[in-house]
């Protein structure tokens, strides 16, 4: 990784970190925290789906595992929330590795892999809903005890900085993946698995590493969700809504790019929130905007917002070079 790789991430992170000093409005802070939690989970999805090309429809399985593990550890075993966070990530990675092992070993790809992950998430949802140690359908309520040691903060800005730090960390991780040998192998598997194998890439190993990383990051976002809202039930933690959120953000922002998930999450939720502000009294207007952005992005911006920006930039450059060529033609 060179300095050029890191500078944009660091600059954006610093700018974002300064935001609470300017914006003190609680609704904005609350919105940013939730959006960044979604962005974090989406970054997790992007490692597997974007770089590895393995589209999962069931990242709720990892999100929910993160949320439940941290909640259960605190409630049933009195484990500290920060330690719970680490265990939750490990549990997310373990669940992801297991699901990955079962499905990649059987050679499931494309839509088959997507369906299997979807099924796993649903199984988890039903189990969490039925088992008593997950609180069953009544869900789990983390005790409200505002103290930094409990990962609960009186000031929303502190939680914002925490989530931002994690998002930045994963941005750096993603950049590293992009530049590393592992990332190159992952992209090779995405583009043509058979060709990658022929070149000596151990595709199963690469995919398992990717899904474990992806699971850990998404579990982290689930854990933060639980710490922020302090209540989870089977539908919130393992529901299909979160699987959809986590795959929509990178698709809108730019699949397989470093900033795609964050841009996508901010765009989708930001537009929804703005629409709510302006269209005020009409219920559901933000959802209409959400749907419209999705349709537009899929129809016109195949590579997401970042892809679109890149195309526009290339077109601009193309016009310039064409112009230069015409000049040189004229000169000849």
């Amino acid at each position: 990784m060179t300095a050029r790789d890191l500078i944009p991430i660091v600059v954006l992170a610093v700018l974002a970190a300064l935001l609470p000093l300017v914006v003190t409005s609680s609704p904005v802070m609350n919105f940013l925290v939730f959006t960044l939690i979604v962005a974090l989970g989406a970054q997790g999805w992007n490692i597997l789906g974007g770089f590895g090309g393995q589209f999962s429809f069931g990242h709720a399985a990892f999100f929910g595992t993160g949320a439940y593990v941290t909640a259960i550890l605190q409630l049933r075993y009195g484990v500290n929330a920060w330690a719970g966070l680490l265990v939750a990530m490990a549990a997310g990675a373990a669940v992801a590795w297991t699901i990955g092992f079962l499905s990649f070993r059987s050679g499931l790809r494309g839509s088959y892999f997507a369906l299997v992950t979807l099924a796993f998430a649903e199984v988890f949802r039903i189990l969490a809903n039925a088992a008593s140690f997950t609180g069953g359908a009544a869900g789990l309520l983390i005790k409200l005890d505002v103290h930094p040691a409990n990962l609960q903060f009186a000031d929303r800005a502190v939680f914002y900085w925490l989530v931002l730090a994690f998002v930045t960390g994963v941005l750096l991780l993603t950049r590293w993946i992009q530049r590393s040998r592992f990332g190159a192998q992952l992209v090779a598997v995405r583009e043509n698995e058979d060709a990658a194998k022929a070149l000596g890439v151990d595709s199963l190993k690469v995919k398992l590493r990717a899904i474990a990383l992806s699971g850990a990051v998404t579990a982290l976002s689930g854990c933060l969700y639980a710490q922020y809202f302090l209540y989870i039930d089977a539908h919130i933690a393992y529901g299909s809504w979160i699987s959809v959120e986590l795959l929509l953000a990178p698709i809108i922002g730019g699949v397989g790019t470093v900033f795609g998930p964050v841009v996508g999450a901010l765009t989708l939720h930001g537009l929804g929130e703005l629409a709510k502000q302006f269209a005020g009294r009409i219920p559901g207007i933000d959802l209409i905007v959400f749907g419209s952005v999705l349709v537009l992005a899929v129809a016109f911006a195949r590579g997401g917002i970042l892809g679109l920006l890149e195309r526009l930039r290339d077109r601009g450059r193309g016009m310039m070079t064409r112009g230069a060529k015409e000049v040189s033609h004229a000169g000849r």
């Binding site: 409005s25 609680s26 609704p27 802070m29 609350n30 919105f31 939730f34 039903i126 809903n129 039925a130 069953g136 359908a137 009544a138 869900g139 309520l141 005790k143 409200l144 009186a154 809202f229 302090l230 209540y231 039930d233 539908h235 919130i236 809504w241 929130e273 009294r281 219920p283 559901g284 959802l287």
Partner: protein, 412 residues
């Protein structure tokens, strides 16, 4: 050139004249036209939080309607008298049927300066929203959310006027036993049909331990997901078991589906006894599927049918072409309760409102609860009552003190 000279030359008015005019104006305002002064009292903002989009939109709409009608009535009657006739301004928030959206709306309401919030409807929304409000000591009145966890957290800002899950199920069981005894104990065997979410499975678990103690035999417990698209298998199972009593606990869509499927397959148990039934006391169900709805008994939130104010409210709602359900009187009563607390607090100060709610003995509501008495935020007098769909109407059948009609049980 001196600055003061220029100023007075420009405006041609001295400081003394301005003072005189001001004093005269003030005197005119206080003595001559008190009504003008009163009209300028700033409005008191109340947050109304309901899920009006998403899966719970139907309930959210009814909840908002109830709150709106109460606010309009209070304003039409001259506003909050203790605050110089201040009007109540509704700040509405759509909880979109999710806890995150509920929290976000609480933050917005806080930014807009509401003095209290009423609503939430579903338990997860109430849990998240009341917690967000607790950060600001913002009084939060839960309208429906029955989960016992809501009141178990010790949040000083959270109040629940309606009964919780434990209370509802207790009363439901007691009443069922009594209704059965009054009818000569026709029902002995029971099939439970429940949704697999928060209240369905919780209720099923409780009934499984409690019903046998009261002399009922549970033949089977059938769980189904929400949403469920087909109830044929459930209905067939009920037919083969042939129980005296079916006890369903599910949401609107599934309850309607189950009742219709049972009607189509001509399954007629001696009674259908719903606890917090999703549709069993909903005017829409009666209107749309009167045959399937006949004789369904429910133990649920319901207004006091003898209360003239409640009767007027129901008429007003039905005159708007809307169906009546418990959400309307509950939210209506909650807003009245809050307004009473603000009146007694004498200000829109949050701490004072919380104090006033804690010492509340409010009787002006339209629920069959008697005067309010809050212990740790829970209204002790809150209780569900039994209704039955008879003809085209939902009638209260138990307890006898409130009853409008006799229970048709066993169903004929």
């Amino acid at each position: 050139m001196g600055r003061s000279v220029q100023d007075s030359a420009l405006f041609g008015v001295s400081r003394r004249t301005v003072l005189k005019a001001g004093a005269a104006a003030a005197a005119f305002a206080t003595v001559g036209a008190p009504s003008i002064l009163r009209a300028q009292t700033p409005a008191v903002k109340i947050g109304i939080l309901q899920p009006v989009t998403g899966a719970l939109a139907h309930d959210g709409d009814l909840g908002r309607l109830g709150a709106e009608m109460a606010i309009n009535e209070i304003n039409a009657a001259g506003g909050l008298k203790a605050l110089g006739g201040a009007k109540i301004e509704m700040v509405f928030g759509d909880a979109r049927s999710t806890p995150e959206a509920g929290t976000q709306e609480v933050e917005r309401m806080q930014a807009e300066g509401v003095c209290a919030i009423v609503g939430g409807f579903a338990s997860p929304i109430c849990l998240a929203a009341s917690q967000a409000a607790a950060r600001y000591d913002l009084p939060y009145l839960v309208d429906v959310g029955v989960s016992d966890q809501i009141m178990a957290r010790g949040l000083t800002n959270t109040f629940r006027f309606s009964p919780g899950f434990g209370k509802v199920t207790q009363v439901a069981l007691d009443n069922l036993t009594k209704i059965n005894e009054l009818a000569g104990k026709p029902a002995k065997t029971v099939v439970l049909v429940h949704e697999d979410g928060l209240f369905g499975s919780g209720l099923a678990k409780l009934l499984q331990t409690e019903l046998p103690k009261r002399g009922f035999e549970i033949l089977e417990t059938i769980a189904h997901p929400t949403p469920a698209r087909d109830m044929s298998n459930v209905a067939l199972r009920i037919r083969s078991l042939n129980p005296d009593l079916v006890i369903p606990s599910n949401y609107y869509g599934e309850f309607v589906l189950l009742a219709r499927t049972m009607q189509q397959q001509r399954i007629k148990p001696k009674g259908v006894y719903a606890v917090l039934g999703g549709a069993a006391s909903n005017g829409r169900f009666v209107k749309e599927f009167p045959q399937a709805a006949q004789n369904v008994i429910d133990c649920n939130h319901w207004h006091d049918p003898q209360n003239p104010q409640a009767q007027a409210l129901r008429k007003a709602v039905e005159a708007q072409g809307k169906s009546f359900a418990y959400n309307v009187p509950l939210n209506y009563s909650n807003v009245l309760l809050l307004a009473d607390a603000i009146e007694r607090a004498g200000s829109a100060d949050r701490k004072k409102i919380i104090e006033a709610l804690n010492s509340s003995t409010f009787e002006g509501h339209i629920m069959p609860y008697g005067p309010t008495k809050f212990v740790n935020g829970q209204n002790e007098g809150a209780t569900p009552i039994n209704t039955q769909i008879q003809g085209e109407d939902i009638k209260v059948i138990f307890p006898e003190y409130f009853a409008e009609a006799k229970a048709n049980f066993p169903a004929t």
